[in-house]
């Protein structure tokens, strides 16, 4: 079943640059959908539409619809706070907030008014386990989060999103700054997480795209070139441009 349906979405930044042109795409529930393609193709812009984080940037004109469970989230009346709880995000560079490890994890819950210690503790442990970080940090939850290594920080960021029990997780090149071992850990977490969550990943390489994709969408200069089953797309691409990119002839 499609969790998100994008209908002829176009997006233009206020300086006139066009970022997305007439994108239509269905995003399957409880699976990893990979948005890949060369830089500047509009993948990040699309991600940021899905939790309305583009509200913060100098956008723009947006047209089209994005239906999340049948509701158009681009509607100005959409409650963005509730939306962002449902649609969590992990950024390319791990940004830990200037709090303790635990402080980072409970931040999202606290701003929505959760005060019960038991609920917060439960969320801390659950989310850290989901992000495969629990064993490494369980004895030092009150240490500053910046003391963690880069790979740990990025898994903490993932855990921080998971603490809110979102339905969709957006990941924008989450492993671009990580070593192969940390990258492997994050990818392993994603395999586990897709049983419960709808995951949309902008990978940092074609290899990662091929490794993780249940479904894959190839973006080129703001256009959706090809979309389909991950295995199918990476072994037998229909469009020549997709094939050339996958085989490394450009990019």
């Amino acid at each position: 079943m499609d969790k998100i349906i994008i209908e002829s979405l176009s997006l233009q930044y206020s300086d006139g640059t066009e970022s997305l042109r007439d994108i239509s795409l269905g995003i399957r529930e409880k699976a990893v959908t990979v948005l890949f393609g060369p830089a500047g193709g509009g993948k990040s812009s699309l991600l940021r539409c899905l939790n309305r984080l583009n509200d913060l940037t100098e956008v723009q004109t947006v047209s089209g619809r994005i239906l999340l469970d049948g509701e158009n989230i681009l509607d100005p009346k959409t409650d963005t706070i509730t939306l962002r709880r449902k649609v969590g995000m992990v950024f390319a560079r791990p940004v830990v907030l200037p709090f303790s490890i635990r402080g980072n994890l409970v931040y999202g819950l606290e701003v929505m008014g959760e005060k019960r210690r038991s609920r917060l503790d439960e969320a801390v442990e659950r989310s850290l386990r989901q992000a495969a970080l629990w064993d490494e940090v369980k004895d030092r939850l009150d240490d500053p989060a910046v003391a963690l290594s880069g790979g740990q920080q990025q898994r903490l960021c993932l855990a921080r999103s998971l603490a809110l029990e979102p339905e969709v997780i957006l990941l924008d090149e989450p492993t671009s700054g990580l070593d192969p071992i940390s990258t492997g850990k994050v990818e392993a977490s994603l395999l586990e997480l897709k049983k419960q969550y709808t995951i949309i990943l902008v990978p940092h390489s074609v290899q990662q795209a091929a490794r993780t994709a249940d479904f894959a969408a190839f973006f080129l200069q703001g256009e959706l070139i090809e979309y389909g089953d991950g295995k199918e797309l990476f072994t037998n691409p229909q469009d020549q441009r997709t094939e050339e990119y996958i085989t490394g002839r450009f990019g």
Partner: protein, 287 residues
């Protein structure tokens, strides 16, 4: 040939650096000399009675307690008005304001406010607070006048420290479902606080040492008792120093320098607090 040329270049560089270092050191000389001179001249005047007593014999003897207390009240009063206003304005400018003509107008106003001579503030305070609003010559009028003078300092340093908080913190906070205000209150403001406090202290320190703005708005030549309410006039250290240096014949030098020493200690003490806060925050900073 080449060798001597490169030697020369080294020599020129060393001379240049030496000169620059000397000039930099030169900036330290005036402040050190002022402090030493005043400490030597005024030091002997400092006694328990000088700090805690009232002036006697037409201010030629006794202490300066009413002036110390007065300056303390004025600084406090200035803080009450200028800190909330200044920090609020800085939050608006840094976090909410769009770049449009209104914001630019506000910024130009702030810059120009900082350039106005302090005596003009005094006259303005006299017109607005003392006469028009009928607050009289009082701590209230003087504090309000000093507040206006202090605002630009507080606003610009507070805005600066708010802006130095990484943008990524805000984006992450919003993406976790926080409102803009929650983001400011829980992340941006705490991170910027040491810088804001430093700016506040530097602003207040200037207010504490000013004479002209309080001249017409709240300062008294001599009062036999301490001020009892914000509507009373008050003695103040800078004005008292002005008075005993120019208006009182046969004034013992020691008392003048003693008063100057107390004023300088007051201001440098605030400076020290600001420095400690800043360096502690820097050591604690995690990004």
């Amino acid at each position: 040939m080449k060798r001597t040329f490169s030697l020369n270049r080294h020599l020129v560089q060393r001379l240049g650096f030496g000169l620059i270092t000397l000039i930099a050191l030169g900036t330290v000389i005036p402040i050190v000399m002022v402090v030493i001179y005043i400490a030597v001249e005024g030091g002997p005047a400092i006694s328990w009675e000088f700090i805690t007593g009232f002036p006697r014999e037409g201010m030629r003897q006794g202490g300066i307690l009413p002036a110390i207390i007065g300056t303390f009240y004025l600084t406090l009063g200035t803080a009450v008005f200028s800190v909330p206003l200044g920090v609020a304005a800085a939050i608006y400018l840094s976090e909410y304001a769009q770049d449009n003509w209104l914001t630019r107008l506000i910024r130009i106003a702030i810059i120009n406010l900082a350039g106005i001579p302090s005596v003009v503030y005094g006259l303005f305070g006299l017109g607005l607070f003392v006469l028009f609003l009928r607050f009289g010559t009082s701590i209230l009028s003087a504090s309000l006048t000093l507040s206006i003078m202090t605002l630009p300092v507080i606003i610009s340093t507070a805005e600066e420290s708010l802006r130095s908080v990484p943008q990524a913190f805000r984006t992450v906070s919003i993406s976790l479902g926080a409102t803009r205000w929650q983001t400011i209150r829980r992340i941006v403001l705490p991170e910027a606080l040491p810088g804001i406090i430093t700016g506040v202290i530097l602003g207040l320190e200037r207010a504490a040492g000013e004479t002209a703005p309080i001249l017409f708005t709240g300062a008294a030549f001599f009062l036999p008792r301490l001020p009892g309410s914000p509507f009373d006039a008050t003695m103040a250290l800078p004005y008292h120093l002005f008075v005993i240096s120019t208006q009182v014949p046969e004034m013992p030098f020691q008392i003048q320098y003693g008063t100057a020493l107390v004023l300088i200690a007051f201001v440098l003490g605030m400076n020290l607090v600001a420095t400690v806060i800043r360096s502690r925050a820097r050591a604690r900073r995690q990004w």
